[in-house]
Structures are given as C-alpha cells and as structure tokens.
Amino acid sequence: MSRTARPVMYAALVLCALLTMLPFAWGVSGSLRSLDEIRSDPGALLPHHLTFGNFTRLFETQGFGRFVVNSVVVALIVVTGNIVAASAAGYALAKLDFAGRRLAFGAVMAAMMVPFTAVFVTQFVITVDLGLADTLAGIALPGAALPLSVFIMRQYALSVPDELLEAARIDGAGEFRIFFRIFLPLAGPAVATITIMSFLNSWNNFVWPLVVAQSMSTYTLPVGLAATSQAAAHVTDYGLLLAGAIVVMLPVLVLFLFLQRYFVQGVAGTGLR
C-alpha cells in the first residue's frame, strides 16, 4: 500500500471503531449521571458529577436481584446441558459407525435451519403441557441442547485421529471409557467454544423467556429490564435503566475481552447466535 493511503486507512478505521463504540459510551456515561442531571440536560455526552447512585438504586429495586439469580440459574442449566448433550452427540456423529447416522446428522442440520418464530407457539403449548410454564426449567430446556453445539463438537471430533480411539478399543476399553478418558480430555477447545456460545445464547435470550416467564419471580435479566423500562415509560428514569443495561452487558463484554477467540468461533464459525 502506498505511503499516503496507509495513514488515511488507519484514520478511517479508528473513526469507524469510535462510531461503533458510541452506544457503549452513551450507556456508561448515562448510567453515571443523576436523574436531575439527565432531566435538565438529557443529551449531554459526559456527566457533570459522577454518581453511582443509579446502581445502588437498581439493586434496591424490587426483583432486580432475583432477575440476576434467575439469569445465572438458567445459564447454568443451559451450559451444563449443552456440554453433556453436545459432547456425547458430537462424538457419536463423528466417531461411531451406526445405522441412522446420516439421518441423525441431517436432523441436527435441519434443527439449525428451523426459525424460532415458526415454532415458539407450539414450544410454548408443549411447555405448558409439561407443567413447565413460568419455571426456570421451562425457560432453560429448549436451549439446553443446541444443534449448533452438536455441530461444533462433531466438527472437532472429526479432527481427532481414529487410530487413537482404535488403539484404546484394541486394549479392551469400552465406548464410554474411550469417550470419558480419551476423547473428552482432548476436546477442551470445543467444550470452551460450546460453553461460551451457549452462555451467550442463554444470557442474551429475550423472546423465549418473555413468552415463558409470566411472573416477576421467573423473569430473567433481559425480560426484567424490558418490563422495568415499560413500567417506567412515563417517568423515564433513564439513569436507572442505563445502569440496568450496563449490568446486563458487562459480564458478557468482560468475558468477550478475554475469550474472544471462542466467541468468534462459536458465533461466526457457523454463523449462528
């Protein structure tokens, strides 16, 4: 690249980066301003007086602590379910030879294609039938075995050499022992990707928890935050809402900074979120 073009491109890229970050800056700066300040000068870019009052008020707000706990519980169920279901299924699809394998893999691929909007009504009816409406299990279960996780694990398992597993078979190890003792210890990177991916999916999920959670006791963070914002529509306590937004975003952004390789692999590797 020519000597003049390079600085121009650097400048353009940095400008784009700043534009991309603007919403984050607005959110953080707004959350650190007092209600009075937001009322008197709603559009100011920076707070005149820094205050953490919105955050303390947030955790005094009824239900907010509950939403945090609910989100964590749902995420734990989802992540555990995905690790168990996907590592087992992915291993079987890649490494076991059995009748119906093509069919099973076809089902995984098809499941990735079914749009959520096409099935959430009947998913909800089934959830009601199972007695899981308005429960954390009902919120977590549909995401507890994501086809994308199975796909990621299968692709990873394909790269594990057959000779390794064959050697164990000759030594008399059974399939379960081979899976737990040989395959799983090797599958660390894939398990990491699945963990991150399914956590992200669960933590940011909005529509499904909105459908299943019917009382404040089962609201997850996004649903609780949306409900709070609708309840506050006339007051528009932006300081409080933005503090809530920061609390919802922060854990994922911090994780993302440290583990972005796995985020990118999971989200963009097969292009699903």
Partner: protein, 313 residues
C-alpha cells in the same frame, strides 16, 4: 455393562458369523443412540414435534382458551392463510420486513466487507483491537442496547444534541413514522456487521497469497485484483453471509419490539412481531399460520442459496 461388550463384538467380526455380526451391529447402534439420547430428546420435544404441530395448528381455529380442551378445535384448512393475506396489518408487516431485509442485508454486508478488506490489507498493529471493537456489538444484549438507543435517539437525546452542535435541528426519531424504521434498521446493522466482517475475514485469509503476487507481476493493480481475484474467490462466502443475514432479518423481532414496539402507527412492525401479537391475543391458529409464512420464506431463501452455491462450485 455395555462398555465391555463392544470389544467382544469387535473380536466377533474377525470370525465371520452373520448372526454375531448382526448382533454386534445392533449393539453398536444402541451405544451410539445412547450417546445421542440427550440431544435427541430435546430435539424431538422442542424442534421436531413443535414444527409438525405448528403446521397442524395453523390449519385449525385453535385459540388460547382451547389448550385444556384440544378436541373442541375445528379443522379449518387454509382459512387462516387466506385471512392473513386479506389482513392489511399482515401485508404491511410483510412489506416492513422486506424493507428491513432489502436495506439491512446490503448495508450489513457492505460495512462488514469493507472493514474485512481494510483489516486484511497490511494493518498489523491495530488489527486485533479493531476486530474486537467491531465484533463487540454482536455479543451485547439487545435489551440493554435498545435502552441506550432510546436514550440517545429521543427528542432531547445525545444524537440530536450532536446534530444541534453542527447546526441541525434533530427530529423526534422514534415517534416519526418515516424515521423510526431507519433507526431500527441501523440498530440491526450495528448488531450484525461484526458477524459479516468476521466471516469475510475468514474468506479473505483463505485466498492464497501467491495468486495476488502472480497478478501483481502481470501488472494488475489493487482494483483489478479486487475485481478479478478477491470478489470471484469470495463468492461462496458472500452467498453464505447474505443468506445468513436474510434469515436473521426475516425473523427480526427484538429491535422493533424493544425500540418502538412496532410503532409509530405500525411503521416498524415486522412479521415476527405480528406472530407474537396474534399469540398474545390468544389467536394460536393465526399465529402459527403467520409463523409458517416465515418458515416458508426462510426455506425458499436457503434452497435458492444452496442451488446457487452448487451451480457455482
């Protein structure tokens, strides 16, 4: 324990006996399906059955109150679908969704591709940081982001303050039927261009360096290299990204629901929002029919994509 049975079966295959071989094959399949069981169960309960059931429900007049007495429901054939396409609201929502796709997909891809090209062309020092920044919107929570956008785009918000500083009187973005949709689309683009960028980057890095070197030796400049090497070689990636985003945007729900609630005057209401509203009103039959229109659109897009991919490669 099944674990010890498998190597025994393995040995049996060494001595060809059909019965033993059949037994070992059955045992292998049983073990495999045991591994698949947790996924298969969730898949059956939450994907396979709901998909078939949704099609069935879309052909009935089922309402929320009928959940306890499913046999009181009447089969009405395609009536729900006929009603849908006579419903002005639904037609408007289809057009809104089409607008979201028509503007959102090219914009998202254009930004993603341009950034990928820039990051791939010898920017070494900042590449990691910039990639992180551009991908960050993808992982952020849409509820949180939508709140921030409401704060920034309201009448006296930050956006209008910035516009005021350069001499423009900013409008009331989210309350104007002509301006709400652009803001909603912008939020969708902001949240998704990072995915396009990362996929294009992966595609660009798969192009062998020596192709460019050979072209440079033959006197091809930057533009000709882009036109005759990069773009053709990136065609499969481009198709994949376009289908992915089309499928995303055909189902758009979070952005309009959270930013505008579908308003003002329905100007940002999408098909997914319509589906959700019918569901909320207890009209499960209509809701399922609307959701099957989405499924049909998504399927058509996917099939066209695979056809295109196969014919090109």
């Amino acid at each position: 324990m099944t674990a010890s049975a498998v190597p025994a079966a393995g040995k049996a295959t060494a001595v060809p006996k059909t019965a033993a071989r059949r037994a070992s094959r059955a045992r292998r399949a049983a073990v495999a399906w045991l591994f698949l069981a947790p996924f298969a169960l969730v898949f059956l309960v939450y994907t396979a059955i709901p998909t078939v059931a949704a099609l069935a429900l879309s052909l009935t007049d089922i309402r929320g109150a009928d959940l306890r007495t499913p046999f009181a429901v009447d089969f009405t054939g395609v009536e729900n679908y006929l009603r849908l396409f006579q419903d002005e609201t639904f037609v408007r929502d289809i057009l809104n969704t089409a607008l979201f796709v028509a503007v959102g997909v090219p914009l998202t891809m254009g930004i993603g591709f341009t950034l990928a090209l820039a990051l791939n062309s010898g920017i070494s020092r900042l590449r990691g940081v910039l990639r992180t920044v551009f991908f960050a919107p993808v992982v952020t929570n849409v509820v949180a982001v939508a709140l921030i956008w409401q704060y920034a785009f309201h009448m006296d918000g930050t956006v209008n303050k910035l516009l005021g500083a350069v001499g423009f009187a900013g409008p009331n973005w989210l309350d104007d039927p002509n301006l709400a949709m652009p803001v909603v689309i912008l939020l969708g683009v902001w949240r998704n261009f990072g995915i396009a960028m990362v996929l294009f980057l992966a595609g660009l890095q798969a192009v062998p360096r020596d192709v460019y070197e050979a072209a440079a030796l033959d006197g091809a400049g930057r533009w000709r290299q882009l036109r005759y090497i990069t773009l053709p070689l990136l065609l499969p990636t481009t198709l994949m990204v376009s289908v992915l985003l089309t499928v995303f945007y055909l189902q758009v729900f979070d952005e309009p629901y959270l930013l505008t609630g579908g308003g003002p005057l329905g100007s940002t209401e999408s098909v997914a929002l319509y589906t959700y509203r019918q569901f909320g009103a207890g009209e499960f039959g209509m809701s399922s029919a609307a959701s099957f229109v989405t499924l049909a659109l998504v399927t058509v897009v996917s099939v066209v994509q695979f056809r295109l991919l196969r014919s090109r490669t």
